[in-house]
Amino acid sequence: MSTIDIPTRQRWMRALALSPRAALESGLAPHLPPPDACRWLRRPQTGLVMVEARSGGSGARFNLGELSVTRASVAVGERVGHAWIGGGDARHAELAALADALLQDDARHAELMAGVIAPLEDAIAARRASASRAAAASRVEFFTMVRGE
C-alpha cells in the first residue's frame, strides 16, 4: 500500500483534470507503462454528472444542469488509478488514470510530482493569473456626481 495522503492525491488529480490533454500526453510520454502491464477495470466511458449549486450561492441545493464527464480506471501492478475528467475526451481520462496509478508508487512518486505534476500546476496558475490580470485591467472606480448641493 502506498503512503501517500489524500490531499496530495487530490492535488495531482486536480492538476491532471484541469490541464489540456496535450500537456498530459507530452509530460507522461516517458513514464507510461507498456500496454500489457495495464489492466483496464473500466475503459474510458463518457456520461453525465448533475452539477449542483446553491440558491443565493450559499442556501439550499438545487440542480443547475448536467456536465459531460469521462472516467476511466486502470490497474498497474498493485495500484489502481482512477480518473474523472470534465468533457468527452477518452484519451485524457486514460492518461489521467494511468498517471494516478503511477503516482501512488512510492518509488516513482517524487520524480513524477516534480517532473509532470509541478509543471502542469505551474501552467494552470499562469493561465489563471493571466486571465485575472486581464480582468483587473478593466477594474474601474466610478465617480458619482454630487447632486443638489
Partner: protein
C-alpha cells in the same frame, strides 16, 4: 481487496442482456440463455452479475445480503448504484443460493399511482425443470406453462403470493441458474 473488471463491452453487453431480460419478462417461466457474462466478484454468480450490471445504476437502490463486501464495492464501482441496508427501500434485491429468504411482503410494492416503483428480485437458483413445478398463465402465455425452479427457499411461494396479493401493487423476479434466466412478473397467475 482488488477490484475485478465487469462487462468487457459495458454498453453493448448491457444492452444485449437487457434485451434478453425483456424477452424473459414477456414470456414468463420460459428459460432463456443469457448472451454474455462479466467477471463477477466473490459470492455473486456470473449470471446474477450480468443482471445487476444491466439493471442497477446511480438511480437505483440495491440490497445485498450480509457478507458480500467485495460484491458491494464492485457494484458501487461498476454500476454506481446506491447500496442500502434497509430492504424496504431497495429497487433490486439479490439473493444468492442458499441465502435466507427475507420477508417478501416487506419489499417495496409501489403505490396506486406508481405501481412500478417496486422491488425486483434477482434470485440465484440451482436449475430449471420444464417437466415439473409451478404452472403459470396470463399475459405472455399462449397456453399454461410449467416450470420447476430448483433450490428456492421452502417458503418462497407462500411469501411470493402474499407479496403480490394487492395487484397492481407487488414485486417482480428474475431467477438465474448457470447461463439461463427466467422472468416472473407479478401479472403471472400461478398454480402451485
Amino acid at each position: 481487496m482488488m477490484l475485478t473488471a465487469a462487462f468487457a463491452q459495458p454498453v453493448d453487453d448491457a444492452q444485449a442482456t437487457f434485451r434478453t431480460l425483456l424477452s424473459a419478462l414477456s414470456e414468463p417461466l420460459l428459460p432463456r440463455a443469457l448472451p454474455v457474462f462479466p467477471d463477477a466478484p466473490a459470492g455473486v454468480s456470473p449470471a446474477a452479475a450480468a443482471l445487476l450490471l444491466t439493471l442497477a445504476d446511480a438511480d437505483t437502490a440495491v440490497w445485498l445480503p450480509d457478507g458480500l463486501a467485495d460484491a458491494a464495492a464492485w457494484l458501487r464501482f461498476h454500476a454506481g448504484c446506491v447500496l442500502v441496508s434497509d430492504i424496504a427501500v431497495a429497487d433490486f434485491v439479490y439473493l444468492p443460493q442458499r441465502s435466507a429468504l427475507p420477508d417478501l411482503p416487506t419489499l417495496k410494492r409501489g403505490s396506486a399511482d406508481y405501481p412500478d416503483r417496486s422491488a425486483t428480485l434477482i434470485v440465484d437458483v440451482a436449475g430449471f425443470d420444464r417437466a415439473a413445478g409451478v404452472t403459470g398463465s396470463g399475459p405472455g402465455f399462449a397456453a399454461p406453462r410449467r416450470l420447476g425452479i430448483q433450490g428456492l427457499a421452502g417458503d418462497f411461494w407462500p411469501q411470493w403470493t402474499r407479496a403480490n396479493c394487492a395487484f397492481p401493487l407487488g414485486i417482480d423476479a428474475f431467477f438465474v441458474a448457470r447461463d439461463a434466466v427466467v422472468g416472473l412478473p407479478r401479472t403471472t397467475r400461478l398454480e402451485l
